[in-house]
Every structure is written in structure tokens, then in C-alpha cells.
């Protein structure tokens, strides 16, 4: 009988199955290690110094007005005063010109927009303009009133919108000029045009028929900006910016931009200025503070020099470590090691 050859059960002699794949074996040789440390050190130092220089070139001024407007803040502590207006002025002096685009922010301190229950309290579908039942959505308890009217927009985020009005006046030669400010173009393009849409109807007030304003608002959502149709309803810039909840308890939001026309074509000239504020947002109950911030911007962000400092420190540390390694190597070179290259 013929001997039957059984198929071999050995694994294939391929590179993969015999674990003989070609491989690059990195080794910590002196040249590679020192070059890595010194290159990282030099590059980080260079970038760090650039970043620090550019952060220092940002002009910024921050005015705390919740402390100076103390009578308004005490008025607002009592919520039954909600329909009483309160105005407040805050003066400041610009020692140098603020050249370039000047941005005006409002700042809040000790306001936790990043609280978990607060962050989820919204309905993106409603803000898209779709007809949706907000009763059992994440917006609870700010969903409907007792008579069943839904709130538009629902949720705690929209309900607590920042509603101070801030105007800027320039005092020159005993005359007061109002600085022209732009109130649109401050939000993300995708937010304004995709994520937030008004419900479609003949006019805006009929689009929101059957809904009511949230409890803390003074006007309904279709009266947020009656002058500009493209800034009214859900697509109001201030609402959009507020709905982008901030990551920390001390934050700022873009409020207005200085319009570069007339006297302010190059920015804000040096001189005396006044903020004229309609104080509505109460912060004293939770020991918060409010600020107005005027700032220019650079490509690397704002006036926070931390990133530049981080790069510089890392570059210095890497360079020093490179020197330490060189010193160790020089000291050890005299001793013989077992396996010499």
C-alpha cells in the first residue's frame, strides 16, 4: 500500500507566523537621545518666546461693575423688582490706544454654567425650529407652565440668559460720543445658520404662537431684536452665545465688537470712557461678580501667557536635561561597561 502522506501540521513558514517580520528596533543611542532633547528644547524655547511676546502685545482692560453698582445689585436681590429699571455708570481711562479690532466681553465669576444638570437642560430640537413636545425632555423643570403652554426656548440655560445692556461712551472735549458697536457676527457661523433655526411661518410672532417666554425673561423670544429680522427669535446672537455653555465658573462671553467707523476706524483711541449699563442680571445672591472686558486679539488667542510659559519651561527643562545626560555620559565614558559599542 502506498504510504499516505498526512498534511503537515506545522505552521506556515511565513514571516508573520514565524515571528520573523522585518522590524525597526529603536534604540536609545547617545546621538538620538541628545538630538531629541536639544531639538525639543530649542524648538519649544523659540515658540514659547514668540507666544509670550504675542500675548503681551494684547491690550486688555477689565472693569468690575457689580461691585461699583451696589445700589442696583441690592435692588436686584429682590426678585419682585424685576420690572424696575436700574442704570449704572462705570468710568475708566484708556492710557494707550487700543489699535486693531476691539472686542467687548461681559464676564461672570462664580457662575457654574458647567454644572451637569444645567448643561443638559436644553432642547436642541426645539432650537432647530421643529415642533417638538418639550414636556418630558431634558429641559425639566423649565418646560411648560401650569396651563400647559410650553416655554420657548425651554430649559435652564435659556431661562438664565444674561440680560444686562452695556453701552460704551467716549468722553472727549466735554462731549460724549457713543462708540458704535456691532451686535451680530459674534457667534459661530454654523450655530447661527445650522444649529439654531426659527420656526417657519408668515411672521415671527405667529411662528411662536402657542408658546410663552421663559419665567425669567422680560420679553418673548420673537422680540429679542425687533430691528434686525436676522437677529430675532432663536437666531439671536446673544442667545446663541449664551447657549454655548462655558467650561468654567469664571468666564467671559463675546458681547459686542467695536465697529471700525468714523473716529474709531483704527480702534479705540486713548482717553476717558464710560460704560452705561442697564443692570438686570442678579449675581449677589450666589456671591458672583460681573465684569466688562475690552480686549484686542492676536493669532495665538488672548492675553493669557500660560501657553508661552509652558513652552518656555518645557524647552528649558529639555535643554537642561540634555546637558545632564551629556555630563553623565562624559563621566561614565571613562569606565568600561560590559557591552561596548
Amino acid at each position: 500500500q502506498e504510504a499516505q502522506t498526512r498534511p503537515s501540521r506545522c505552521p506556515d513558514n511565513s514571516a508573520f507566523k514565524q515571528q520573523k517580520l522585518p522590524a525597526w528596533k529603536p534604540q536609545l543611542s547617545l546621538a538620538s537621545v541628545l538630538s531629541i532633547f536639544f531639538v525639543i528644547g530649542a524648538a519649544c524655547l523659540a515658540v514659547g518666546i514668540c507666544l509670550i511676546v504675542s500675548a503681551n502685545s494684547v491690550r486688555e482692560i477689565e472693569i468690575n461693575y457689580s461691585d461699583t453698582c451696589s445700589d442696583c445689585s441690592t435692588l436686584r436681590e429682590n426678585s419682585s423688582n424685576w420690572n424696575k429699571e436700574c442704570y449704572c455708570s462705570a468710568d475708566f481711562i484708556l492710557k494707550e490706544d487700543m489699535l486693531g479690532d476691539v472686542f467687548m466681553y461681559y464676564g461672570l465669576q462664580n457662575f457654574y454654567q458647567n454644572h451637569r444638570r444645567y448643561v443638559i437642560s436644553r432642547s436642541d430640537v426645539q432650537l432647530l425650529g421643529r415642533d417638538v413636545n418639550v414636556e418630558n425632555s431634558y429641559c425639566t423643570p423649565f418646560t411648560t407652565y401650569e396651563n400647559g403652554t410650553p416655554m420657548a426656548p425651554c430649559g435652564a440655560i435659556a431661562n438664565s440668559i444674561f440680560n444686562d445692556t452695556i453701552d460704551l461712551f467716549y468722553n472727549v472735549n466735554s462731549s460724549v460720543i457713543q462708540v458704535p458697536l456691532l451686535k451680530t457676527g459674534n457667534s459661530w457661523w454654523t450655530d447661527k445658520n445650522v444649529k439654531f433655526r426659527n420656526p417657519v411661518a408668515q411672521n415671527l410672532s405667529s411662528a411662536f404662537a402657542g408658546t410663552a417666554r421663559p419665567p425669567y425673561w422680560q420679553k418673548p423670544v420673537y422680540m429679542l431684536d425687533e430691528e434686525d429680522e436676522r437677529n430675532n427669535g432663536y437666531i439671536n446672537d446673544e442667545l446663541i452665545i449664551w447657549m454655548r455653555v462655558s467650561a468654567f465658573s469664571t468666564f467671559r462671553n463675546l458681547y459686542r465688537r467695536v465697529s471700525r467707523t468714523g473716529q474709531f476706524a483704527d480702534g479705540l483711541p486713548a482717553g476717558n470712557y464710560t460704560f452705561y449699563i442697564s443692570y438686570n442680571f442678579p449675581v449677589s445672591k450666589f456671591k458672583g461678580k460681573k465684569y466688562v472686558i475690552l480686549s484686542t486679539v492676536v493669532w495665538s488667542g488672548g492675553s493669557n501667557p500660560f501657553l508661552g510659559i509652558a513652552y518656555t519651561v518645557c524647552g528649558t527643562a529639555a535643554t537642561l536635561t540634555g546637558f545632564v545626560i551629556t555630563a553623565i555620559h562624559l563621566k561614565l565614558r571613562k569606565e568600561k561597561t560590559y557591552f561596548q559599542k
Binding site: 517580520l21 534604540q27 451637569r116
Partner: protein, 395 residues
């Protein structure tokens, strides 16, 4: 680590123990410690954020990105590492059987390894959180735009950490590393580009695209992994320069050309032998055939391994013998094992018991238990017994 192997020849045992055993241990140990590190370092990011969100349990990283982080983006590189990585080459492992101790003594994964890895994970999570935090502090960044660079930085740091550990880079390693990063960016861009309301209540629409157009994002993603991993890299460099473990020397040995490798091993062995005052050479070498000639320089004649295995047999723990690994070479054990190997390869019979029965205690050191010798084994060692009585005087 339970593993059952069936081999057809005793000669396969050598490679199984020395090469595959070592690789298996090394890969598994490193993969396990890496998984601990990866998860501690990632979840701690969420913990540090609690200090800034009123301890309310808010997560700044988008839910689906978090889920896929461990599932897709950082899962493949450690698996490829655990299958394919070779920290020392097969030839060196076979040529330096002393390296077998590396696995026996759990040198790659001890309690100190775990503690240092956890400290490293805490440090890296601190850096990965606080560098972006201090960069964006007081600005107008929103919650998920803050979580996005943190997630990206953490991914890059974790993958680079793995890359620092990888000793052999095959095409699979390159593919999974680069593929993971690409996968993450492509997924983020697509998900953030399409999802307007798909993930209620917080859909991350356009967050990644907005970050990708911001120079601060790139600057952060470059510096933070560097800061996070620089201490670890520095420690690796120091260990490579100053460390004296055998596994490190073996890795350095791998770099040398072949002839120089054998030379270096011989030089190292002779250096070790002179320090151990070996007074008896191995006359038995001359009796045996070429196939076991290389066993003359096998570890079983050397003090350290002999001492260790002596300790094993002793059953009294390794403390006695490990405390002075340079104690005098006990020729009786050496020749004992040597003869056993010789018999094993000569007759190629009998199972390898794994325990080394002791010679009757004419030359036993105090405190040593006289183990039993099975009868058939006793026969085999008769021809060595005359050497035992000779060597008794040297003790």
C-alpha cells in the same frame, strides 16, 4: 499564566522556555500594566474636572468620543504589542539563558512597577488636564470645546507612551499606531460635522472643525504630550545609561554584529567566573560530544542560577541563596545538573520533571533538607558520584 504546550522533542523545550516563555511573559506583563495606566490616566481627566464644575458629575468630553476612546482608538496598539513585540531577540535569549531569571523573578511586573505606573498615570493625567485648563482659563471656551483638546491630547499621550515601550516596530505596529490617530481624527470630524441633534441633549456640532482651525489647539496638542512624557523618557535614558540589569545588557547586545555578540557573551561569562572563584574547571566537558559542548558555559554551572535553583529545591525560599549570589560555586550541584542535562540529551528519555532531586547529603550544607531521589534517577548519577566525593573536600 496558564499555558499547555505539547512538544514532540525535548530539544524544543529549550526554545519554548527561553524564547517563547520570556516573550510571553514580557508581552503580557507590559500589556497588563499598560491597560491599568491607560484607564487611570484617562478617567482621572474626568475627575480633575470635577473640581471646576462644582463636583456635579459633568463630563466635558463628548459621550461617544469617550466610549470609542477605549473601544477603537486605543485598543489596537496594545493588542499588536501584546502579540508581536520582542524585547530581546531570539538569538540572544538562547545565547544568554541567564535571562530566564527575568521571568522567574517577575522582574517586569512587581509591586514597585505597579506603583510607579500609577504615579506616572496620575502625573500624566494632571498634565493632560491642567495644561489645557490653564491655557483656556478665563476665556470664552465652552464645555465641549474644552473637552475636545483634552481628549485629543490624552489620546496622543497614551499612544506615544505605548510607542516608547515598543521595542520592535513591524508594519503592523506602524499601521495600528498611525491608523488609530487617523481613525480618531476622521471619526471626530465626521461625527462633529454631521451630528446636529443626533446626541441629545449635547450634540457636538462643529466642535472639532472649529478647534482644527484654531492655532491654540495645535500648540496645545504639541506641547502637552511632550511635557507629559518627558520625565518617562528621561528615566528610560537614565536606565539605559546607568542601569545594570541583564535584560538591558541583552538589549544592548542585540545591536552589535553577530561575531561581536558571541565575543561579548564570552567576555562577560569569563568575568563572572573569575569573580566567583570557581576552582574546578569542568572536566566533564571533555567527555561529552559536541552537541552539549556549549552547555559548558551554560548557566547551570554558574553560581547565580545554581544558587537559585538550589534554593528552589531547598524549599526554604530563595532568601538564603539569593542573598549571596556570589557565594562559592558548589561543584556538586553544577556537575549534577550538568550530568543530568548530559543524560537527558544522550538518552532523550524520561520526562523532564522540573524538580531537581538532590544528591544525598554527604556534602549537604546545614539546614538543607535531604530530598528524596527516585531509584531510577539514582542509577543515572552513579557515574558522577566519584566526583561528588572528590568535591566534598573543597567544601
Amino acid at each position: 499564566m496558564a499555558s499547555d504546550f505539547a512538544i514532540t522533542r525535548f530539544k524544543h523545550l529549550k526554545k519554548l522556555l527561553l524564547v517563547h516563555g520570556h516573550w510571553c511573559y514580557s508581552r503580557l506583563a507590559k500589556m497588563v500594566i499598560y491597560f491599568f495606566y491607560k484607564n487611570v490616566s484617562y478617567v482621572n481627566l474626568l475627575f480633575w474636572y470635577q473640581f471646576f464644575c462644582g463636583f456635579s458629575g459633568a463630563t466635558m468630553i463628548d459621550y461617544w468620543q469617550m466610549v470609542f476612546f477605549n473601544l477603537i482608538f486605543t485598543s489596537m496598539p496594545p493588542i499588536v504589542f501584546g502579540i508581536l513585540d520582542k524585547d530581546v531577540s531570539a538569538e540572544t535569549l538562547l545565547g544568554l539563558p541567564e535571562l530566564y531569571k527575568n521571568g522567574k523573578n517577575s522582574e517586569i511586573y512587581k509591586l514597585s512597577t505597579f506603583i510607579f505606573t500609577m504615579l506616572d498615570a496620575f502625573y500624566q493625567s494632571l498634565i493632560c488636564f491642567f495644561v489645557p485648563y490653564l491655557t483656556y482659563k478665563g476665556s470664552d471656551i465652552d464645555v465641549f470645546s474644552f473637552g475636545n483638546p483634552i481628549n485629543t491630547i490624552s489620546l496622543l499621550t497614551i499612544l506615544l507612551h505605548q510607542a516608547l515601550d515598543m521595542k520592535t516596530w513591524t508594519v503592523f505596529h506602524w499601521a495600528t499606531m498611525i491608523g488609530s490617530v487617523l481613525c480618531y481624527f476622521i471619526f471626530s470630524v465626521v461625527y462633529d460635522g454631521l451630528c446636529v441633534v443626533c446626541n441629545p441633549p449635547n450634540s457636538p456640532y462643529w466642535i472639532m472643525e472649529k478647534q482644527l482651525s484654531d492655532p491654540t489647539f495645535y500648540l496645545l496638542c504639541l506641547i502637552t504630550p511632550v511635557i507629559a512624557l518627558l520625565p518617562r523618557y528621561f528615566l528610560f535614558v537614565l536606565r539605559g545609561t546607568l542601569g545594570s540589569s541583564l535584560i538591558l545588557k541583552a538589549q544592548q547586545l542585540d545591536q552589535l554584529p553577530k561575531e561581536q555578540q558571541d565575543l561579548e557573551i564570552q567576555k562577560w561569562r569569563s568575568r563572572k567566573q573569575t569573580t566567583t572563584d570557581a576552582s574546578i574547571t569542568s572536566p566533564a566537558c571533555n567527555d561529552l560530544d559536541q552537541t552539549v559542548n556549549h552547555l559548558c558555559v551554560s548557566p547551570f554551572l554558574h553560581t547565580e542560577t545554581a544558587a537559585v535553583s538550589h534554593g528552589d529545591v531547598n524549599g526554604q525560599g530563595l532568601s538564603n541563596t539569593e542573598r549571596n549570589p556570589l557565594r562559592k560555586w558548589t561543584p556538586e550541584e553544577g556537575s549534577y545538573f550538568f550530568n543530568r542535562w548530559a543524560d537527558a540529551t544522550d538518552s532523550s528519555a524520561g520526562p523532564f520533571s522540573g524538580r531537581y532531586p538532590l544528591v544525598p547529603n554527604k556534602v549537604a550544607s546545614p539546614g538543607q533538607e535531604a530530598s528524596k531521589i527516585t531509584r531510577d534517577n539514582a542509577k543515572k548519577f552513579n557515574h558522577g558520584s566519584h566526583r561528588r566525593s572528590v568535591s566534598a573536600v573543597t567544601l
